[in-house]
Symmetry: C2
Subunit: 289 residues, 2 copies
Amino acid sequence: MGRELAFIEALRALASDPAARGLTDDCAVLPFGSETLVLTHDTMVAGVHFLPDQDPADVAWKLVATNMSDLAAKGAVPMGVLLSYQLAGTEERFLAGLAEALDEYGARLLGGDTVSSSGPQVLGLTAIGRASYLPVPGRDGAQVGDLVYITGPIGGAMVGLEALREKGPAKSSLAYRRPLARIAEGQALAPFVTAMMDVSDGLLLDASRIAKASKVTINLESAAIPLACPPERRDEALRWGDDYQLLLTAPPELALPLPMHRIGVVGKRQEAPVLINGAVPLGSLGYQH
Amino acid sequence: MGRELAFIEALRALASDPAARGLTDDCAVLPFGSETLVLTHDTMVAGVHFLPDQDPADVAWKLVATNMSDLAAKGAVPMGVLLSYQLAGTEERFLAGLAEALDEYGARLLGGDTVSSSGPQVLGLTAIGRASYLPVPGRDGAQVGDLVYITGPIGGAMVGLEALREKGPAKSSLAYRRPLARIAEGQALAPFVTAMMDVSDGLLLDASRIAKASKVTINLESAAIPLACPPERRDEALRWGDDYQLLLTAPPELALPLPMHRIGVVGKRQEAPVLINGAVPLGSLGYQH
């Protein structure tokens, strides 16, 4: 973990460019002619980011969805993807899921590479989008007094993974297997937000990232956070990712263009970047990977 | 091999878009606002694409150079890269080589992802460029009567890898460890060529790709092909990649803007896509991966 963070910091210094936010902020934003490019890359490893025996169609779907979710948080319009594919003998199912996911998001398969390796399957996807609104939302714009919103409930992927491990009915694991990137929501919200990101690593951790980048403290109201799991598992759900809801901050006087869940407020920087009901959360904030 | 080709064909069908040439033609070409994007992705695996004990700085250099070479063949101006990095405990050397290579090509590190895995190191790089000339050179434009040119000698990477394996002096393996992408040459040549690609998998194989895509036969004159290895190894050098010279076709009446090696002519499609001194080459044409 320390090693990885040090590497990311070194990469970030190498990038040495405020526009090159991709290494810490998921997407890179790059003016390009008359338009603005939004770029992101996610890599997934069998046994780390997905179950080794998972249906490759679901793995392909998730690989696309995670990248699309990064584009969604920027209000970007998906254009295409480049795929890095390690052969595994399960190409047919993978392709089926890939086709479904690309169709869902209107993204084209532009290119990529295939390789062979003796190790666990490593899959990479680069997604290319076009900014629909400038400035492209970032993590660093939350202002004291802003309200904090989320597009929908969390905890669904958590119980979905459990259902998948227990070989429950297919529908019970859908939230984990087939997450949805909020592309339309991201585009609709981009003109209104002061900060936005997708919740991929846990609400508390991702909220702390906005708070740190914006040099504020986000105070979440526990009871206001919508759940897609039993209420007694709220504390776990706050630290669990993979639901890909959008988390955002906006001035209190703004009427947002979509029904949203208001889950907290932005305050001056206090002893911790994120508080729950005014208190510092106990333990880990989420999934650090 | 068959499996991989079938997958690539399936991916290609999925792309189902003449502009989406990336899966077979290395780069994707995408109109984007007032400009044209050129995109490519290469993945490298330890033990397959580089020696497991190779200096990570050289591996980083090559990862960048191979992608830049794909951009060069399109006459593109490098803009930036996204890196997929599997942690290996050798981050410091990797970063050193990465910084050198990005500096060489004026490309920015825009983003990426880091992962952990128990398998051989898998590294991916997506490179983004801007087309300097339209139409962007492809593989399918060679015309009967065109002359065939190459930017420089081949065989240097072949003897360089041997020197590296034999732990020879560092300089003797330079051509293999630190290949150069011909970015400036690609931009200068793009307005003059009917087809262009980089020689990454062997001159015979890559020439056959241009010939097949253009539905012609390329007849190479063996003695005219410049070598960076002993002349008795000419046949091997013709089948060895990694030198990253640019291979191109252009009308005979055109004076090219750079000194080039004229190595053959384009003729009507005959029994094979590529001939040497009028004969069908024996054995494998190059490195199929």
